[in-house]
């Protein structure tokens, strides 16, 4: 799947590699900003208050 996606990227090899890095960095930002905070809220692994869990 990832190989197929890589082949769909336009341009020569160096551009494909550059684009992959940019896309991966974007995915990390989305995870850090939205996905992980949401996961932390749902899992309740780090609650420190009483009566609010």
């Amino acid at each position: 799947m990832y190989l197929w996606l890589f082949r769909q990227l336009p341009g020569p090899l160096w551009l494909k590699i550059l684009l992959s890095v940019v896309i991966l960095a974007g995915a990390l930002v989305v995870l850090d900003q939205f996905v992980f905070p949401w996961m932390a809220e749902v899992t309740h692994l780090t609650d420190a208050t009483v009566g609010q869990s």
Partner: protein, 264 residues
Amino acid sequence: MTKVLNRRATVARETKRTRRRRSLLAVQVVGELLITLGVIAVLFVAWQLWWTNVEADAAQGAAVKQFVQEHQAPAPNDPAATAPGDTKGAPAVPVGKVPGHGQAIGVIYIPRFGADYSRPIIEGTSQDVLDTLGLGRYAGTAMPGAMGNFAVAGHRQTHGAVLDNIHTLVPGDKIYVQTADGFYTYVFRNQEIVLPDRTDVLAPVPTQPGAEPQQRILTMTSCNPRFGAQERIIAYSIFDSWQPLSAGPPAPIAKQLAALQGKG
């Protein structure tokens, strides 16, 4: 006749081959998705146990520095330096106004947690406060220095690990709270481990709801065990003394404060 049979055999062989290729492709896609999920799970653990500390430490360190520098002792010839009551023996303990949600109340210093341990105390215990800003004061509990229970919550792990060492407190340990008014000194008394629904630890007299408070108490709550949240660890401290900003910080944290003020 044999030609037709041969062709039929080839067609059958080909459909078998494409079918096998298709199922192999499906297995590959599912496998890659599972690997992706695994990588995301590992990244989540790293994010929670490491990255949230990096972010929170930076934000809280900056907040402490800002508060300390905005609340320096007035110069000796400043009229505010000689507060009324200073001359009449023991001054009354001032109680600050309740700030808005997410606003700073002050800074807490706990030498037992390290010579440079200081964290902001912020109004409110919602996730946005506790995750980045520091210790959060339970709304509705007392303010520092007030009769009753001044209760705060902080993370044990992750998001700065504010109260990571709460279990290492020894009875008699000093805990200093600096507000806009001055320095409040509390002395650690004891701790207990309770279930998460025990809100009575926040009562004016902890665990005795309805009782009339006779003491000024500082209560800190965090999760227990470390890296878990099945229980809560509660640490109680008793108010000991107060001194105005003009009197300077208590000796044990003077050096640390000077460093924060950029004098050290």
